[in-house]
């Protein structure tokens, strides 16, 4: 059927610059560029272009420009070109619209409506280059009180502490499964986590055997499909995370199409090659908070009570009450994933219309747990659209113990957020299993780029803390006096628990 959808992008070649090297053709798995007659002339099929900019980035003479198609539909604020294109695609296929990455709609980013404080005159700021600055963070349940005893001359701790994860910086890599991303991308994340003294997360795709050596820096996920979940997997990881929901697609499960289940993925997920990997929307052993408690304790039993158990939920309308239940069910860590959180594949309508912004969910969950006097019983980790060190600092001031970064980490690896992860044709070698494409991502360079990113952010966090006269990230946690809102209404300020700038 003829597609009525217009090309989203135009690809323009500057003939004066082009040296006819053919790199563009080799780099594009979507087959936009085709050279003919032994490199005499090329044609570009703009309709295939997804805007990943691999060709423009790799073109040695910068002869390619990719820009949005300037062809305009009749002006209409309601029936935008995007809306029309979606309807055309569905009229042509009768299918559900798929997409990748996080929600790209223009909902308010509250990170950008909050500003940080700094010391002036009355309390000195601190220079992290010369003075000690603590970013170390422990995730896990903290006791209500500490009992100390004297043994001879020594004071010893009598309270038995719950297992903790030790992070050298409050930034971890989000759950991204092997299957959604390539082996090389997984390896880069695991190695970077080990080098940084933080954690990466397997997602629900199991952990490749070669990566078991990074187990001390891996959080393993147990999701509804239970793919790759077995005793070795639980044993090797530092913590276990029960995935209930994901910010990009709250309320629905996952589906790794059979064509992506390669022999290596089959081994890791423990399912036959080529079979669909379907993660049901709910865990069928969890229909209540009591059932969740049962799975939390089943995993604690299976791991000898030596590892923290985390529970990840999508940020939705009643997150605060749900989080309270999760803490009472015995989780050591609660993870909130906001609607900007990424995914390898999600129905477009769900990604863009379900869930709530992470900032509001975080503020209300932290507030609720404090009010119920159970905030110490679990650490709070937030995920979903953290773009910079400033977002991290604001999240911690709002009450988070640490953050997960997913999209930002993939961008560090080369991702240009074209949102076509679900096609399996990622030209950057990230969201693909095609060996021709995956080898583009060198795990050594990938590791270096991730380490660079997190080191840079960590230093910026220290600078911001120092500017506020704070020398430990602990002192910022839940310190909402360090935040001020700009352009927010009274209700938003109340939910965020912050004052307006100038107040």
């Amino acid at each position: 059927m003829k597609s009525y959808a217009l090309p989203r992008f135009l690809v323009e070649r500057d003939e004066r610059r082009c040296i006819r090297c053919g790199a563009c053709e080799r780099q594009c798995a979507f087959q936009v560029h085709r050279w003919h007659d032994g490199g005499e002339w090329a044609n570009t099929d703009d309709a295939r272009c997804v805007g990943c900019l691999r060709c423009a980035t790799l073109c040695p003479t910068h002869a390619l420009v990719v820009r949005r198609n300037p062809t305009e539909t009749a002006p209409n604020a309601h029936w935008t070109p995007e809306v029309l294109a979606n309807i055309y695609r569905q009229a042509e296929t009768g299918g559900v619209l798929l997409t990748g990455m996080g929600c790209d709609k223009n909902y308010p980013a509250y990170w950008d409506r909050m500003l940080l404080d700094a010391s002036q005159v009355t309390n000195p700021s601190i220079d992290p280059l010369r003075e000690p600055m603590e970013l170390r963070t422990y995730l896990g349940a903290k006791p209500d009180s500490l009992k100390l005893a004297k043994r001879g001359n020594k004071t010893v701790l009598e309270t038995r502490l719950s297992p903790q994860l030790k992070l050298e910086t409050p930034i971890m890599f989000s759950a991204i499964s092997y299957g959604a991303i390539s082996y090389n991308a997984c390896e880069a994340l695991a190695r970077a986590a080990a080098e940084l003294g933080t954690f990466c997360n397997t997602g629900e795709g199991g952990l490749h055997r070669n990566l078991y050596r990074y187990g001390k820096n891996v959080i393993c996920q147990v999701a509804s499909g239970r793919f790759g979940v077995h005793a070795d997997y639980l044993e090797v990881a530092a913590a276990v995370e029960i995935k209930i929901g994901q910010g990009a697609k709250p309320g629905i499960g996952g589906h790794l199409p059979g064509e992506k289940v390669t022999p290596e993925i089959s081994r890791t997920r423990m399912i036959p090659v080529g079979s669909d990997a379907i993660s049901p929307a709910p865990h069928h052993d969890i229909y209540s908070i009591e059932d969740l408690a049962q799975l939390i304790h089943a995993l604690k039993e299976a791991t000898g009570w030596e590892k923290p158990v985390s529970v990840k939920i999508a940020a939705v309308h009643n997150s605060a009450a749900i989080a309270s239940g999760i803490v009472r069910a015995g989780a050591d860590i609660v993870v909130l994933d906001g609607m900007r959180g990424g995914t390898g594949a999600a129905p477009l309508m769900i990604r863009d219309n379900v869930g709530i912004p992470i900032e509001l969910a975080l503020a209300s969950v932290d507030e609720r747990l404090r009010r119920e006097d159970i905030r110490n019983r679990a650490s709070l980790v937030v995920a979903g659209g953290i773009r910079s060190s400033a977002d991290v600092v604001k999240a911690i001031a709002l009450g988070a113990d640490a953050v997960y970064i997913g999209t930002a980490a993939l961008v560090a690896l080369g991702c240009h957020v074209c949102q076509k992860c679900y096609t399996g044709k990622c030209n950057w070698g990230i969201a693909t299993q095609d060996p021709y494409l995956t080898k583009r991502l060198n795990p050594d360079i990938g590791t270096e780029r991730l380490v660079n990113l997190v080191r840079a952010w960590s230093h910026e966090i220290m600078e911001m803390l120092g500017g506020m006269g704070i020398n430990a990230i602990e002192s910022l946690r839940g310190n909402r006096m360090k935040l001020r809102g700009v352009g927010l209404n009274r209700e938003e300020l109340e939910i965020l628990g912050i004052r307006h700038a100038g107040e």
Binding site: G94, V96, V229, S275, D285, Q294, A298
Partner: protein, 269 residues
């Protein structure tokens, strides 16, 4: 609370795994009044030395057998609680009583034989090993059961089942025997094999098309399948008694996936 009552030696040869009587030399743990965490701690501790354990007076303690990776023999007298053998990787468990919900949850390897019935979601997400239930089971059993390579989970049910048996099933074998006197639930069970995309469910006796879930199809068992069923029936009779010939003298149907890609055509380009 009473602790380990008697320990009569570390290494015991397996005698008859079918007998409810303790062979001499079995390590016995009295579970009465013990919290599940304490009971499982003792079981794990004893399992590191003994090859055979008997738990007496078990009453609702959860997660028994979880986290043990040795093929020990575990005999349970009483009613074990939810998630018996969850994430289990090797032990052989014999229950002399009923089992509750979540038996064999995400089990990787081992054996569970229940001289009684089991509750809901038995064999959920099970990937390997075998489960034999003398009587019937509850709802959503074998949900998302899957297989991989040589790992092929097997669930044999002597009685009937309730709705959503084999939902999302991706591999393995379920055999429902519906033996006389043990089945009151199967004729009313619906949504069988909803979303099934791998594995097979064998049912003794008639199955109606109206009982099938989305994505499931029905046919008679083939000669080869009958041989497979017969070997499972022999196991069943070996554990619980009965006449294999008599059980086999019946029609057998197979619920199987219409497609391995149930959601292949769901999406737009």
């Amino acid at each position: 609370m009473r602790a380990v009552r008697q320990v009569r030696g570390d290494v015991i040869k397996e005698k008859s795994v079918l007998s409810a009587n303790d062979p001499p030399g079995s390590t016995v743990i009295d579970a009465e009044g013990l919290d599940y965490r304490e009971l499982n701690r003792r079981v794990r501790q004893a399992a590191s030395k003994a090859e055979e354990l008997t738990l007496e007076g078990v009453c609702g303690q959860r997660y028994i057998g979880s986290g043990i990776r040795k093929p020990i023999l575990l005999k349970i007298k009483g009613v074990p609680g939810n998630d018996l053998g969850s994430f289990m990787d090797g032990p052989r468990i014999f229950v002399y009583g009923n089992a509750q919900d979540g038996l064999g949850n995400t089990m990787n390897d081992g054996l569970i034989v229940v001289h009684g019935r089991a509750g809901d979601i038995a064999a959920m997400g099970m990937r390997g090993g075998r489960v034999y239930i003398r009587d019937g089971v509850g709802y959503r059993c074998a949900i998302h059961m899957k297989e991989y390579g040589k790992m092929r989970p097997i669930l044999v049910i002597g009685g009937g089942t309730q709705d959503f048996l084999g939902e999302y099933m991706a591999g393995g074998v379920v055999l429902v025997l519906r033996l006389p006197g043990k089945d009151t639930t199967f004729p009313a069970a619906r949504h069988l094999g909803t979303g099934i995309h791998g594995g097979r469910i064998f049912v003794r006796g008639p199955v109606s098309n109206t009982q099938l879930g989305k994505g499931a199809a029905l046919r008679e068992a083939s000669e080869e399948e009958l041989r497979e069923i017969e070997s499972l029936v022999r196991d069943y009779v070996g554990y619980f008694g009965g006449d294999a010939g008599e059980i086999m003298d019946s029609e057998f149907n197979v619920i199987f996936p219409k497609s391995r890609r149930p959601f292949g055509g769901l999406y737009a380009y």
